[in-house]
C-alpha cells in the first residue's frame, strides 16, 4: 500500500511551528513522549510504547556450536521487523532502506557496545554455547522507531532468564525452569539511543520526533549512550552538516535523557520482579486498559418497568392464536406423501423454478420411499383423496409430478392397488439398480 502523502499545508505548518518552538502535541523541544513498558508472561518479552509508537521485543535462547573463530563466546542475533500493521507504507518481505538502517543501528548499539557478556554464554568451549536471539517487531509507527526499539531490546535482554546449565566432565545437563530457577543474562550496561531531528539546515532541533515531524525534517542524529555517559554509537543521516557545538550539545542532552530512561527501566523491572515473586497477576492482559470512553458514550436510559406484566398479558390475549399445524401426511402413491398443501406459488412464470420443483419432487420421493411404504398399509382410506388433483397454482406449466415406484414417471397420476403393494418393493429396487447402472 502507498503511504498517505504529506500535503503542502501540513509541511508548511509544521515548519512554521518549529520556528516558533511549538510542537504538534504541545511538548517542548527537548521533551520525550511518555514511555510505557509492559512485560509479558514469559521472561524476555516486553512491549515498549513511546507515545503511540509501539515495539514488541522477545528474547529466546538455544544451545548451538560456537563460531569457529570464537570458540569461547556465545552468539548474539538481532532482528528488527517492520510489521505491515505499523504503517500503510510497510510491506512484508520488502527490504527498504529504513529497515536496513534500523537493523544496523540496533546491531551497533547492542553488539559493538559489548553490553552483554558473551563469555558467560559459553557452556563447553568449542562445542556448546548459548545463542541469544532478540526479535523486535514494530507494531505501530508514530515516529522515532529507533529509540523505542533500543529501549525494548535492552529491557527484554535484562528481563530474560536462560535455563541453568551444569557441566560435569563431558556431560552437560540443562535444567528445566521447574528443576532450577532460570538465570538472568550477564549485562554490563544499558545503551539507549536518543534521536535528534534537525530543521532548516541545522538551526532548529527536536528530540524524539513524531511521525509527521520526521517527514518534514532535514536529517537526524542518533546517539546511543549509557547512564555512565559513555557513547556507544553515533549516526547522522540525511546529509545535514552539523557543527561541533551542536553535536556536543546533543550529547549533553542525551546524557540527561538516558539517565531518566534508565531509571524508568529499573523501576519497571523491579515492579515486574516484585509482582512475580508475590504471585500476583502479570503479563500483557493486565496492562491493557479495559474501559475507554469514546465519542459515542451515551447515558443509559431508564426503562419504566412498572406495568410490564399487565402490558404483556394484554398483548398476549389480544394476539391471534397460532394456526394449527397439519401433521398428517397425504399419501399419493406408495413412495410419495405430501404434508400440507403448500402456499400458492407467487414467483410468476419462471421456468427455472418449475424445473427445480420437479427435481425436488424426484429426490424427495426416493428418500421417503421406505417410510411411506409403511404408512400405505395403514391409510387405505386416503387413497380416495388422491383422485382429486391438488391445485397449487393457476399456471398450466406447473404440474405436480408424482413418481410411480413401478413405472417411469408419467405426466398423469395412476392408482395404486393393494395387489401391487407386494410387488412394488421388488420393482422399486429393480428400478433403483437400473438407474445406478445407467449412471
Amino acid at each position: 500500500m502507498k503511504a498517505t502523502p504529506l500535503s503542502n499545508c501540513e509541511r508548511r505548518f509544521i515548519l512554521r511551528a518549529v520556528e516558533e518552538r511549538k510542537r504538534l502535541d504541545g511538548r517542548q523541544c527537548y521533551d520525550y513522549r511518555n514511555v510505557r513498558i509492559s512485560f509479558g508472561a514469559d521472561y524476555g518479552c516486553c512491549i515498549v510504547e513511546l507515545g503511540k509508537t509501539r515495539v514488541l521485543a522477545q528474547v529466546s535462547c538455544e544451545l548451538v556450536p560456537p563460531k569457529p573463530n570464537r570458540p569461547t563466546e556465545g552468539i548474539l542475533f538481532f532482528n528488527l521487523e517492520l510489521s505491515p500493521m505499523a504503517a500503510p507504507g510497510f510491506e512484508p518481505g520488502r527490504q527498504t532502506d529504513l529497515l536496513v538502517k534500523l537493523n544496523r543501528l540496533i546491531e551497533r548499539c547492542l553488539r559493538n557496545s559489548k553490553c552483554i557478556d558473551t563469555e558467560s554464554l559459553c557452556v563447553v568451549a568449542g562445542e556448546k554455547v548459548w545463542q541469544i536471539r532478540l526479535d523486535l517487531h514494530l507494531l505501530n509507527h508514530d515516529g522515532n522507531i529507533i529509540d523505542a526499539a533500543s529501549i525494548a531490546g535492552i529491557v527484554a535482554l535484562c528481563h530474560f532468564r536462560r535455563p541453568d546449565v551444569s557441566v560435569q566432565g563431558e556431560e552437560v545437563t540443562v535444567y528445566t525452569p521447574e528443576e532450577r530457577d532460570p538465570v538472568p543474562l550477564s549485562i554490563h550496561h544499558m545503551p539507549i539511543c536518543v534521536s535528534f531531528a534537525f530543521f532548516q539546515q541545522g538551526t532548529y532541533l527536536l528530540v524524539d520526533p513524531s511521525e509527521r515531524e520526521e517527514r518534514v525534517m532535514d536529517g537526524v542524529l542518533v546517539i546511543a549512550m549509557n547512564k555512565h555517559r559513555e557513547i556507544c554509537t553515533m549516526q547522522s543521516s540525511g546529509g545535514i552538516m552539523l557543527i561541533k557545538d551542536q553535536v556536543l550539545r546533543c550529547s549533553k542532552i542525551t546524557a540527561v535523557k538516558v539517565a531518566e530512561i534508565t531509571e524508568l527501566i529499573q523501576k519497571a523491572l523491579e515492579n515486574d520482579q516484585k509482582v512475580r515473586k508475590e504471585g500476583g497477576k502479570f503479563g500483557f492482559a493486565e496492562s491493557i486498559p479495559n474501559q475507554k470512553i469514546t465519542a459515542f458514550k451515551m447515558e443509559s436510559a431508564a426503562v419504566d418497568t412498572n406495568h410490564v406484566e399487565e402490558q404483556a398479558e394484554e398483548i398476549i390475549t389480544k394476539a391471534d392464536p397460532p394456526s394449527e399445524a397439519f401433521a398428517k401426511p397425504i399419501l399419493h402413491t406408495p413412495g410419495t406423501a405430501q404434508i400440507g398443501e403448500g402456499i400458492e406459488n407467487c414467483w410468476g412464470d419462471l421456468e427455472e423454478s418449475d424445473r427445480e420443483e420437479a427435481v425436488e419432487e424426484e429426490d424427495e420421493s426416493e428418500a421417503t420411499a421406505l417410510e411411506c411404504q409403511k404408512m400405505e398399509t395403514e391409510d387405505t382410506m386416503k387413497e380416495t383423496k388422491k383422485d382429486e388433483p391438488i391445485v397449487l397454482s393457476d399456471s398450466e406449466e406447473e404440474e405436480v409430478v408424482i413418481l410411480e415406484p413401478q413405472e417411469l414417471p408419467k405426466k398423469t397420476r395412476a392408482r395404486t392397488n393393494s395387489k401391487q403393494e407386494n410387488t412394488s418393493k421388488k420393482a422399486f429396487n429393480k428400478r433403483r439398480k437400473k438407474k445406478r447402472a445407467a449412471h
Binding site: K2, T4, S7, N8, C9, E10, R12, F13, A295, F296
Partner: protein, 188 residues
C-alpha cells in the same frame, strides 16, 4: 456500534459504527490531497483503496484556457460523482448547477489532521455543541471531510494547535471534561 430510533413511528433505525478507514461513497464531501497531475486529470488521495480522479474542468469557472492553479500536495474539498467498488472514484468541485458552493482548492495555510469517521459525523450534526463551544474560544475556519480529514485555520499557530488537540481529544472526552478543558483555556 449503537442504535437509536429516529422518533418517527415506523421505526427507522440509525446504526452508528466506529471506524477510521474510509470507503468512498457517492455524494460524500471529502478532502483530498493531490498526488499527481496526469494531463487533464488530477489524481487525489482520499484515504480509500484507490486514488480518485478529478478533471481540471470540474471547477467553477474553469475552461480550457482558464485552468485552475493546482499543484501536487494541495488540498481539495470536493464531492464524489462516481464511487463504487468496480471503478476508481471520480470527484468534482462543482455541484449539479455548476456552482462551487464551498468546494475547490483549500487555502495554503492551516493544518490537516485525521480523526475517526464517527467523530466527523458527530461534528457535522446540525447543532453540534463542540463546534459551538470552540467558536466561542477563537475565530477559526474549519473544513470537515467525510473521509476523516479535518482542515483548521486560526490566526496563530498556537491557536490552531489548540483547536487541533481539542478536536482530536473529543474522541475520548465526555461533555463535562470538554467543558472543563475549554473553561481552562478561555481563562488563560
Amino acid at each position: 456500534a449503537g442504535g437509536g430510533a429516529t422518533g418517527v413511528a415506523g421505526g427507522a433505525y440509525w446504526v452508528d459504527s466506529q471506524q477510521k478507514r474510509y470507503v468512498p461513497v457517492k455524494g460524500d464531501h471529502v478532502i483530498g490531497i493531490v498526488t499527481a497531475k496526469a494531463g487533464d486529470v488530477f489524481k487525489l488521495d482520499v484515504g480509500g483503496s484507490e486514488q480518485a480522479s478529478l478533471s481540471y474542468l470540474a471547477f467553477e469557472g474553469a475552461t480550457k484556457r482558464n485552468r485552475p492553479n493546482v499543484q501536487v500536495g494541495d488540498l481539495i474539498y470536493g464531492q464524489f460523482l462516481v464511487a463504487n467498488k468496480d471503478m476508481e472514484p471520480e470527484m468534482v468541485c462543482i455541484d449539479s448547477s455548476g456552482r462551487s458552493s464551498g468546494m475547490g482548492i483549500i487555502g495554503q495555510d492551516g493544518f490537516l489532521f485525521k480523526v475517526s469517521l464517527g467523530l466527523i459525523r458527530k461534528l457535522l450534526a446540525p447543532k453540534c455543541e463542540i463546534i459551538q463551544e470552540l467558536s466561542q474560544l477563537y475565530p477559526f475556519e474549519l473544513v470537515l471531510g467525510m473521509n476523516g480529514r479535518i482542515w483548521v485555520k486560526a490566526k496563530t499557530v498556537q491557536q490552531t494547535l489548540i483547536i487541533v488537540n481539542i478536536l482530536e481529544a473529543c474522541e475520548y472526552m465526555t461533555a463535562e471534561q470538554r467543558k472543563q478543558a475549554l473553561a481552562k483555556l478561555s481563562g488563560n
